[in-house]
């Protein structure tokens, strides 16, 4: 599996292109489609098969319009029926999608937004705004923050320590590191032992 990470300067968001060994590719969170993303698709992969969205916020989905103009046959996967005006295949917690050699598991982790999904491909977790290096996604209320913390704790921090985290913003991380250094989780009273 090849993972191409690109920092979108427009949105300061990470756009990930993931390809199997045969070049079948997906894009996770097309925040902004620029020349470099198109170069990755055209030069480093054979065919773009699908787009996966971790949630519907424009910061991570704005590039969808540009992408769909160029690649009309691409399927969109998210937690909703439509996203940015495009039809989407709705995913629920635990759904598994196979695209070429990529096996993508959808994990529902509500809190930052109610439709937030984390995608797991092997030992890679694409967490969008749910879990970032050292912090968790912003929430609109204390209740949503509690929901997010609980969801992260039960669904992500129970995964193997070595799982790599590819967040929607900021640098990469590992589950092990978040258990020790995630300030928001530490402040919420969650300790390594609890997880």
């Amino acid at each position: 599996m090849n993972i191409f990470a690109h920092l979108s300067a427009e949105r300061l968001a990470n756009v990930y292109t993931v390809a199997d060994d045969d070049g079948n590719a997906i894009i996770i969170d097309p925040a902004h489609i620029d020349k470099e993303i198109l170069q990755i698709i055209e030069e480093r992969t054979n065919i773009l098969k699908a787009v996966f969205l971790t949630h519907r916020h424009v910061t991570h989905a704005e590039g969808l319009g540009t992408l769909m103009k160029i690649y009309q046959d691409v399927r969109i996967y998210s937690a909703s029926d439509t996203i940015m005006g495009f039809p989407s295949i709705k995913l629920a917690d635990g759904d598994m999608i196979t695209i070429g050699g990529l096996c993508i598991e959808a994990i529902s982790v509500p809190g930052h937004s109610m439709d937030s999904l984390v995608y797991r491909i092997g030992s890679a977790l694409f967490t969008g705004d749910t879990l970032l290096a050292g912090t968790i996604g912003s929430t609109k209320s204390v209740i949503e923050k509690a929901l997010l913390t609980k969801s992260i704790r039960s669904k992500l921090l129970t995964l193997p320590d070595n799982c790599l985290i590819y967040p929607g913003h900021g640098s990469l991380s590992k589950i092990r590191l978040e258990l020790m250094f995630n300030q928001d989780l530490l402040e919420s009273g969650m300790s390594v032992i609890d997880a």
């Binding site: 470099e36 050292g134 912090t135 990469l172 991380s173």
Partner: protein, 219 residues
Amino acid sequence: MLAQSLIDTKRSQGHDIIMFPFKHCIVPGCPAFTYKETDYCYHHSPDKAEILSEVTELLEKGGSIRDISLVNAEIRGIRTGKALDIIASNFSFTVFEDCVFENARIIASFFDYCIFSRCRFISCDIRYSVFAGSMFASSSITDSTVIHNNFMGIEAADSDFSSNDFYFSSFSLSKMQDTSLEDCNLKRTNFRSCITKNVSFRYSNPEEAFFRKDEGYTI
């Protein structure tokens, strides 16, 4: 370097190739990734000494090191060769002592929980990499591009991190003592809950970094 970063915040970040094998050691209960496409992690490999010697040679020779996982090793006294690329590799829990990385390009690699003792990173290009939980003792990273990296929870003592571009890197929950971050670009650098003692930010721009929890950071 600093001026360029400050002026051109929309500069191209380039695209980085991350090709991590994600294959686990076949020893029951061992969670570690395998060294290359073998069946065993470095720790359980029957030819540990050979692997270490191979990696050391690669580091010293230069060229490209890609997709390897060398966990809990000890690397001492190496000076990297010209044009060394370390891409999508995992060196977690490794001890580096008296090592010099010069003009190295380190992309999407993991150096978490490492110990760097008397090591020097000079004129390196380090991106999308993780040094969280590591210890830097009498070590330095200087004249380097160090953008979008994870330094959470590091402990740095008697170290020099001067003349670097730390754009969008995170030092949250780290402890730094007798360490210099002079003449650095700290735009969007995260120092939340960082404990500093005798740390100098002279000629840097800490006003553009994040120090408090209530300051918006990424979202």
